[in-house]
Structures are given as C-alpha cells and as structure tokens.
C-alpha cells in the first residue's frame, strides 16, 4: 500500500471519518495490490491505473458506507476487495457510579468510545475514570444533546436518582440510540414508568427501555453487573436480542 494511501487510511480511522478501501486482489500482476480509497462524498484517491473500472467501483463503494463489513467483487479478470471503515460505536454512561468504573474498562476493550456524564464533581473525576474519552460534568439532558445520540450510540443510565435519570431518559427517548438501558430494580422501574407516563411519555416509548438493565447472569458485584450490561449491549447491537429479556 502506497504511503499516501496508508497515511490517509490510518488518519481516517483515527478521526472516525468513514471511508471505503477498494483493493485489487486478483487480476493482471501489475494491478494486484493497487488501492482506491473513497470518501463519503464519492471522491477518491489511489493508484488504480487508467484501464480500471473506477466508476463501477465507486458505485459499489458508495453502497457500503455506514456498514461495518468487507466484500469481494468480481468483474472480468479482476477481483476487488471492498472494505468499509466505520467509526467506533459510542457508549454514553450517565452516572459516574461504582458500576461505571468496570463498565468503562469493558467497553473500551470492546472498541467503544466511552463518554461519561455526571454533574456531581465528587463522582466524575479523572482519577476514578482515567480511560474515558470525555467526562462531561453537566446536567444529563443538556450533556446528551451536546454529545449527540445516533444509531451507533448506546446509552446507559445509572444514577438511581430520578432528578438525574429522568431528564436523561426523556432526552434519549427523543433520539434513536442503538440501545438504551436504565439501572434499577423492577420496583424502582415501575415507579419510574408511572412518573414518566405522568409526564406524557407513551407505553410505546417506554417499551424501548432495557430495564431492569443487563442480561440475567446473576450478577452481584459492580463488575458482574457491568458485565451483564455490556453483554446486553453487544447482544442488541449484533441482533441477537430484540426485546428486554427479563420479564
């Protein structure tokens, strides 16, 4: 891979810019290993030769944006590998509580960019959370609006305090996160549902909450609870789980 393409690719991955890389893997010997790197706007750079099917490749590449996968495509003698590079998933944790500490570590190992929200300065400290991408010490609804929630974002709400939890839930439900889970026992959740219905939220909206949070693995310690939460997020994102498992 030519230096300028490698530089561009690594920089795109670092900054989270989505790109699609097309590599000729079969065909004329002098073409094998040549690359074309596409940006979202359809522009490209690379060392494909004059005779290569650039326009067809561009159509293939554009169809792959936003998906996290690689496919091979055969055209005549050539075989081309297309790989879509997608920004890492984002995990927003509201509540810098004990469970959040192992949760940040697990999420980081799983490749998530983790952002922690808590207006309480005693909880949200760099010393407790050295691995987060950002610590946002603001009221949850304001913080979530500023950070932004998209289909590549999981939101976990852990404060246990309606003052903090409820605004976060309401804002998150106004968006379309990949996952939205809230900590609290079944009883706590029942009360929460009553409160939120009173505030005008619908059953349909509230059904999107994963609560009680996490897969039921009998977790007791903060780390075990964090593991159950992380497992649930993976299961939902990978399509293995579409409804809250605990009834």
């Amino acid at each position: 891979m030519k230096k300028n393409i490698a530089d561009f690719l690594l920089q795109a991955i670092e900054t989270g810019e989505p790109v699609v890389l097309a590599t000729i893997i079969r065909g004329a010997e002098n073409e094998i290993g040549r690359h074309l790197l596409f940006r979202r706007d359809g522009s490209s750079q690379g060392d494909w030769g004059e005779a290569t099917p650039v326009t067809l490749a561009q159509q293939q590449a554009m169809a792959l944006f936003g998906q996290e996968r690689g496919v091979t495509w055969r055209t005549g003698e050539r075989e081309i590998f297309f790989e879509s590079y997608f920004p890492p998933a984002k995990l927003i944790i509201v509540g810098a509580v004990h469970v959040a500490i192992p949760l940040v570590r697990f999420a980081k190992d799983l490749g998530y960019k983790v952002i922690l929200v808590d207006p309480r300065h005693t909880f949200a400290t760099e010393a407790r959370f050295p691995h987060v991408e950002a610590l946002v010490r603001r009221w949850p609804d304001e913080a979530l609006a500023e950070i932004g929630i998209d289909a590549n974002t999981a939101v976990v709400i852990l404060t246990h305090d309606p003052k903090l939890d409820d605004p976060a839930i309401k804002y998150a439900l106004s968006q379309a996160p990949a996952y939205l889970g809230v900590l609290g026992s079944r009883k706590t959740h029942e009360k929460r549902v009553q409160r939120l219905k009173h505030d005008g939220l619908t059953d349909e909206q509230l059904a999107r909450l994963h609560a009680p949070i996490g897969l039921d693995i009998g977790g007791q310690t903060p780390a075990e609870i964090a593991l159950s939460i992380m497992a649930e997020i993976v299961a939902v994102r990978r399509g293995a789980l579409t409804i809250t498992p605990r009834q």
Binding site: I25, G70, E83
Partner: protein
C-alpha cells in the same frame, strides 16, 4: 483495524517495515470474518489476528517474504489446501488472506 491503530502508528513512527494481512473471503465456518486483520513488523512481532490462532504462524512466514519482495500475496487456507492439514483450520472452513506491505 481500530484496535491495531495505536501499535501500527507506533511501528510506523519507529520506521519499521510493516506487512498487513486481511481476511478477504471466507467459506463455511471460519473463525474470523472478512476484514479481520493482523500486522507483522520487520522483527516478526505480530498484532491482531486472522483466525483463531490456526494459521497465524504461516501468515507470519508469508508476511516476512512480502516484506522482502514488496510484492503482495493472496493466501488460501482450508480443507482442500494441503497446507491446511499442517497449519490446520480446525473448523472446516476456508479463508483467503491478502498480505501486502504498508509503505512508510
């Protein structure tokens, strides 16, 4: 590739020659999907993976050759391949791996 990035950048800053191996095709039950990657540097150090540990040592050998010649290679491992019996994809799947040098 996100997980390989810090190490890759560190290798590049140190001016080490790097070979990148990418799974480009899979058949049947293979341990890692297309796009899975490993990188090998001039010292033979390895990061990432292209299988569950079944073919990595063979890929390192091929990567060293790619670093020497600068010519990319398309490798195939699977039950129909003689090397697979030695190297062994225990799952019975087949994979193709593209190995190339990253210019620095």
């Amino acid at each position: 590739m996100h997980d390989l990035l810090p190490e890759l950048q560190c290798w590049r800053e140190r001016g080490l020659a790097i070979a990148l191996a990418t799974v480009v095709k899979t058949w049947g039950s293979s341990p890692r999907p297309a796009g899975a990657k490993m990188a090998v540097n001039a010292h033979g150090e390895m990061i990432g993976s292209v299988s569950g540990g079944c073919v990595e040592s063979a890929v390192i050998e091929e990567a060293r050759q790619v670093l020497q010649t600068g010519k990319p290679k398309l490798l195939a491992f699977g039950v129909s391949n003689e090397q697979a019996w030695e190297v062994g994809l225990a799952c019975g799947g087949m994979i193709e791996i593209f190995v190339e040098k990253l210019e620095n």
